[in-house]
């Protein structure tokens, strides 16, 4: 498990990270969200040792993370970059070896990943001759080529079209085994909701929410949504609930007493057609807005 413990970072007078603590669990994708400047990239750079922490530490399997272990991590930085004038095959083999693979293994892994990304026939091309989308694919290949023991991806999907995002997400699922913790930051919340198991929300350098996406999305109270073909105004007189909003046949209410929602459904059915009924899932964007406000 990768643990970020009490990370604090100052840039002069500016407190960029303030006691940031969270876990990235193996085999689960952890989404890392927050407004611009919240400290996501700073956190990731400290995890990778590119930046030093003012206080706190990064731990790996309950021990402080060392340079040797970190060599086996995979990293895709926010600012993309590979060697523009190097052939992509040479480039991936180089990064594989830099991360500790022997030459044969690095070559084999390179061929496999390039094939998987549909870039096999471009292997001898110089990177800068590829389209931006393909360069992005090579970038993610560079993070995966050495079979990393942990992955840190800073905005891995930015700038990709939906099809490319799907292809990349598939690749991640295929390449990332159950022992590998994955942390990835994104501002595309729908994507995070779709791909991630856990979520860490950062605001102004502090963790404001963390946990499984399913739990966070369920919300703290049980909110239900009812849509009928008539008027739903009668809900205002029902006991045991708190109506949030009624507009024509659509109502949103919080259940205060257990099981009262079943009675409401029965009542609604006797009054007419029920078009929709169920617990209201809170969109991630609402959690995000709520948490970072």
């Amino acid at each position: 498990m990768l643990r970020v413990a009490g990370l604090t970072r100052r840039f002069g007078d500016h407190l960029a990270l303030d006691d940031v603590t969270f876990d990235v669990v193996p085999g689960r994708m952890t989404g890392f969200v927050g407004a611009n400047g919240a400290g996501k990239t700073t956190t990731m750079r400290i995890i990778l040792g590119v930046l030093a922490a003012t206080a706190g530490e990064v731990r790996w399997q309950d021990k402080p993370l060392t340079q040797d272990v970190r060599r086996d991590f995979g990293y895709m930085p926010e600012e993309r970059g590979l060697y523009p004038k190097m052939k992509i095959r040479d480039q991936l083999v180089f990064f594989g070896r830099l991360h500790g693979l022997d030459p044969e293994r690095a070559a084999a892994r390179t061929e496999k990943i390039l094939g998987r990304l549909g870039l096999a026939e471009r292997a001898s091309d110089v990177l800068e001759t590829l389209s931006l989308g393909n360069q992005q694919r090579v970038q993610i290949a560079a993070a995966l080529v050495h079979e990393p023991i942990a992955l840190v991806l800073d905005e891995p999907f930015s700038g990709l079209d939906p099809l490319a995002v799907d292809a990349m997400a598939d690749l991640l699922r295929e390449e990332v085994t159950s022992e590998v913790p994955v942390l990835f930051s994104s501002h595309q919340l729908d994507l995070v909701e779709r791909l991630c198991d856990d979520l860490v929300v950062l605001a102004r350098g502090k963790v404001v929410a963390a946990g499984a996406v399913s739990e966070l999305a369920a919300g703290p109270t049980s909110t239900y949504r009812l849509v009928v073909d008539g008027d739903a105004g009668w809900l205002r007189d029902v006991r045991g609930i708190q109506v949030r909003d009624v507009a024509g046949g659509t109502a949103l209410f919080d259940v205060l007493d257990g099981a009262v929602e079943q009675k409401i459904l029965q009542e609604a059915l006797t009054r007419g057609q029920v078009l929709e009924f169920g617990p209201e899932r809170v969109a991630l964007s609402d959690i995000f807005r709520e948490a970072t406000r």
Partner: protein, 388 residues
Amino acid sequence: MKTLDKPWVLIAEREITTKLRDKTFIGSTLVMLLIVMVAVILPAILAGKGGPDKIGVIDDAGLKVVQTASVTAGGDGYEATRFSDRPAAEKAVTDGKVKAALLPDADGYVVLGKDRVDSGVEGALREAAAAVGMETNAGKAGLTPAELHAGTKVSLQLLKPGPLPDIVSDFVNIGLALVFYMTALGFGMMIAQSVVQEKESRVVEILAAAVPIRSLLWGKVLGNTVLALTQIVVIAGASLIGLLATDQADILEVVAPVAGWFVVFFVLGFVALAGLWAVAGSLATRQEDLGSTTLPGQMILMIPFFFSVFAGSSAKTVASFVPIASSMSMPGRMLTEDVPVWQPLVAIALLLAATVLIVRMGARLYERTLLQTGRRLGYREALALESK
């Protein structure tokens, strides 16, 4: 660790293979090779070692003069070509078949040329004609040639003989300083460029995450030092072949003992500067910044270079102890003067100390500035930075 690959070895390897595939690098090396070959071979050709000059004659007396001139010149300087009469010899001169013709005249000989006669040829023939004539005259007067020449021999004795003649010394001094200057500057700029390219393309972030930043520096310094030494060895090899091919092998006897010293001075000086050039690259954020960040490096090279070329001999002696300047002037001094062995040893010790110092400071600056991609930094500013 999955394997034994040291990161700095990989970085050095990439540095070397990238350069070897770079057409500009290969091209400039070939041009340099060509220039050196021409410089080695051309003097030999100009000195007339390209075979004997043909001189036309029409009688036995002329033949004897040309043979005498040839013997004086070392055996194969001139070759006589016999013609039947004066018009035939004139035609051969006009057609360029012979360099000149030596014809009998009322009171001796006349040297016949087309539009001009080489002063060397003229002098040699004049001297030979005089010698032959005098011997003939001496015979008539009853003297043997030995009696004739008694007491006229002049020999040369030097009180402080140097290994090489003066003019050659100057060339060797400037040449060796130039080799170091050009190589250190050329490869220095390449190191700075390679660093700033990694910053510009942002690949440095991935590199720094994978391996310690010091490994990046060491890899670059090692890779480029190997390349620079290889380039010099290739060029030295080419000039060696050139010297052997043109019968100038005697120069080698003088150069060979100093070659080892040159390598030591070269490597130490080069490594010290390489650290500095890498810092110049890491202070910059774009290629355009290199002009200003490499200025100190250029000065450190340029000032000692002009000093070692133009300074007087006692100033040169001082310069040959100053680190970096010593890389340019000590090997040259050792070639052209008698330098006691303690002098290069002291110079190397000083250079070594300076190299360690410069490289250590360079590594510190490099670590602090490599990941600063925002804007160009100054040296003073970089020294004040905290690490990471």
